[in-house]
């Protein structure tokens, strides 16, 4: 689903993300962890070509499309339809003046998908939301609902991979549990690939197959989740683990 080689992202010449290898296969869940400013979000956005005024080098393949050389049109076609994004701040990620249903219908039409009410309701119900939510505005729903709706969008569009940038860090733990639960279920039932960015090692350890640890833009350690967490080889990873209560 995602194949990254020698990715380097620079802002004004400053290297902020340097990822030699990052692969996510179908049905797989890969997590990127690291401290604030270590380049996690940047990496994620670069995958969809969403960074603004950044210089990017290397190779990025998403669902078989070479992101760096693809035409804007081709890029737009994979965005949403095949690779979907879920962001950190739940409500801010939804346009304030657009009803959720309207947003979903527009997105479905854009990609030529079935925009019938039934189809939309089905997607919404799949993430344990009431179909009535489609008539609401973003400010009328809670954070957890917003995140689940973002996931529902991906489902309705038939995305094959979900890129999630700290999807639960703005939520309470009880709500976080619910969102994580939905993600996990989708992965199991639909074989969705998941690329998850988080700073919560404990959370990552519970759902990710593989983990990348980033510090100051560089990947300092990567490997199967269990292995990395059990026997960290890099001192920074060790420090992270020790800091956990």
């Amino acid at each position: 689903m995602i194949e990254v080689r020698d990715l380097q992202v620079r802002y004004g010449g400053r290297l902020v993300a340097d990822v030699p290898v990052l692969d996510v296969g179908a049905g797989e869940c890969v997590a990127i962890v690291g401290e604030s400013g270590s380049g996690k979000s940047t990496t994620l956005l670069a995958l969809l070509g969403l960074t603004e005024n950044a210089e990017i080098s290397g190779q990025i393949g998403v669902c078989g499309v070479d992101v760096l050389t693809a035409s804007p049109r081709a890029l737009r076609e994979i965005r949403g339809a095949r690779a979907a994004l879920v962001m950190q701040s739940p409500q801010a990620a939804l346009g304030p003046a657009t009803r959720l249903g309207v947003l979903m219908r527009r997105a479905l039409k854009l990609h030529g998908r079935d925009a019938s009410g039934a189809n939309m309701a089905k997607a919404v119900e799949e993430v344990l939301l009431d179909r009535e939510i489609l008539r609401r505005y973003p400010h009328e729903i809670s954070g957890g609902q917003a995140q689940r709706f973002a996931i529902a969008l991906a489902i309705a569009l038939g995305a094959e991979v979900i890129l999630a940038d700290e999807p639960t860090s703005a939520l309470d733990v009880t709500v976080q549990a619910e969102v994580v639960g939905v993600l996990r279920r989708l992965r199991e039932e639909r074989g969705l690939a998941l690329l998850l960015v988080s700073h919560d090692l404990a959370l990552v350890s519970t759902i990710a197959d593989r983990v990348l640890v980033m510090k100051d833009g560089a990947v300092v350690e990567s490997g199967p989740a269990a292995g990395v967490l059990a026997e960290p080889s890099h001192p920074y990873t060790r420090e992270l683990l020790e800091a956990l209560p």
């Binding site: 604030s36 309470d172 009880t174």
Partner: protein
Amino acid sequence: MTMLRAESVTLGYARNPVVHDVTLDITEGGVGLIGESGSGKTTLARAFLGLLTPMSGNIWYGDQTLKKSDLRKFRKDVQPVFQAEALDPRMRVGTSIAEALPRAARSRVTELLEQVGLDPDLATRRPHQLSGGQRQRVVIARALAVGPRLLILDEPTSALDVTVQARILDLLASLDTERLLITHNLAVVERLCRTSHVLFAGRVVESGPTGDLLAAPAHPYTLALRDAVPKLGGDPPQAKGRTEAVPAATGCAYRLRCPLAVPECERPPAPRDVQGRQVACHRAEDVLGVT
């Protein structure tokens, strides 16, 4: 010994109560205040600091209500450590710390900075030139400047990276002041507080010794909270009940989310003693049975 005590306080903004009839003692050994976002933790903290006047009820400082007490002494005794924008962005941090010190005692700034583990040279910097952890240390230093007996800590570390967070917690643990710690991180309370109170929708739903509380919650909300925390390498956290429902306006505020709710819950539960804890739940015994 109780230093500060909230007695049946109702707090709110512009006549909308957000904290209802809460009674809470700040006792020795650290007190934790846990609750989800918007449950009124900060509001309560501001009332303890005398920054917010209760709509009803009283804050007792020793044997006097806060309104009548000697505010100068109170200010010396109780100091806050907040997270957000706790430092004036245009003031050198040294000046910020010295703000409360008498002119003669300005030299203590160096001493204070060293006490919180900072290089005294940093005194001439402005907040934006410091890292998040350094900033938080400055805030603590400023609070310590007047020699308080009690620190009121409102999410002192939640915006920090875990590694930095751990060091700040160490620093806090090493201080010999009393503390009221507000957080939604259960692990933090476990470490720093002997007693804890769980707040839900502006009401204390459960209080007791932190260890007991987390080992065997007696309130369904405490239980959900505990089980939702991911454990390193453990199973994915579980959601118990519905998380989205807004707090109920009548009866038990938690009943719309509660997996154990029964018709009886439409009657507001009074706090009662269950196995050494104060719990406001009709089904506390059943909850204890689950754990």
